[in-house]
């Protein structure tokens, strides 16, 4: 069981690294796919056990996937309005983190 979970986490880490790779060759759809696979792998170990992720760690991973889904929504909306190709390239070149979104919004509003 411990060995299986170790391999699962190794796999999750590997696909998550691909998901967040800052590279124009990875599309936003591929990033979402990698994140989904990382989440599925991470969930396969019992939460809270020594072998698996804690519920908080799992929640953080889920939040990351949630933000990635919004990033994809933004990408689609930009395509719909014929946004500049450079903007599209910049958006899909990496993944973004929700933890700083609120701070930025607060700054923008101030």
């Amino acid at each position: 069981m411990a060995k299986y979970s170790f391999q699962t986490l190794t796999f999750a880490l590997a696909v998550l690294s691909r998901a967040r790779a800052a590279s124009p060759s990875v599309s936003i759809d591929q990033r979402l796919d990698y994140l989904t696979r990382a989440l599925t792998a991470a969930k396969s170990a019992p939460p809270g056990s020594a072998e698996g992720l804690t519920s908080q760690e799992l929640q953080e991973l889920e939040e990351t996937a949630e933000v990635a889904a919004i990033q994809k929504q933004i990408y689609d909306a930009m395509v719909a309005i014929n946004a500049p190709a450079d903007d599209l390239r910049r958006l899909s070149a990496k993944l973004y983190d929700v933890s700083e979104v609120g701070m930025r919004l607060a700054c923008a509003d101030a």
Binding site: F6, S17, L61, Q73, I74, R90
Partner: protein, 213 residues
């Protein structure tokens, strides 16, 4: 403290580091993309997943969405879609503010441009309980700016649409909008009391009688 077995500690902490703190460019999503390109629906989605409450920004984003909707049907669809998507979270789907903005937009339109009460329809399709929507209309009707004849008549037309939809018979097996039969009965008593005060209690009573209620 979490138990660490062999390399597990390194692996899990690495995973969480990647997941939670390794996307340092996250702040740019709003400023560089959604705000700059005026993707207001996406900005609302970002606010929905962030912990911060930004009522003024939310109002500003909704004003933009309502102003830029090409027609009423599109706006109804957008409001209904976003209400369901955000699970009616009041942080990004503030019903009182939305009723006010939608009625302001309706007032500015030619009466022929859309049927009365489209704002009510949008909120109902989003899943907002009728009792909650009615409560907001009741409070708006008390405001001085809606007391003049034309705005008041406009508002009451919407209220009649609301009443008509609210009092429609519900098929057996479909849950009521109010939480309990008692809450539903109380909400309807308040409805009748308000409509009497506004001078069209009989008309509401006729709707009820017309359906054999």
């Amino acid at each position: 403290m979490r138990r660490c077995v062999n390399n597990h500690c390194t692996l899990t902490s690495g995973l969480c580091h990647l997941a939670a703190a390794a996307f340092p460019c996250g702040r740019q999503l709003y400023n560089d993309f959604t705000a700059r390109l005026r993707l207001s629906e996406c900005s609302l989605a970002l606010l929905h997943v962030s912990a911060n409450r930004e009522p003024e920004l939310v109002e500003q984003l909704w004003r933009d969405i309502i102003r830029r909707a090409p027609n009423v049907e599109s706006l109804v669809e957008t409001v209904a879609h976003l209400g369901r998507k955000f699970a009616l979270s009041d942080a990004v789907f503030p019903v009182p503010g939305l009723v006010y903005l939608l009625e302001q937009r309706a007032m500015s339109l030619d009466a022929q441009a859309a049927e009365p009460g489209w704002g009510v329809r949008a909120l109902a399709e989003a899943g907002v309980p009728y009792a909650q929507v009615f409560d907001v209309y009741r409070r708006i009707a008390d405001r001085a700016e809606w007391k003049a004849e034309e705005p008041f008549v406009h508002l009451m037309r919407s209220v009649l649409v609301l009443v008509d939809r609210w009092l429609q018979p519900v098929p057996v097996g479909v849950p009521r909008y109010s939480s309990t039969p008692r809450a539903e009965a109380a909400a309807r008593r308040k409805l009748m009391w308000c409509c009497n005060g506004w001078g069209f209690g009989r008309r509401v009573q006729a709707i009820v009688c017309g359906q054999g209620g």
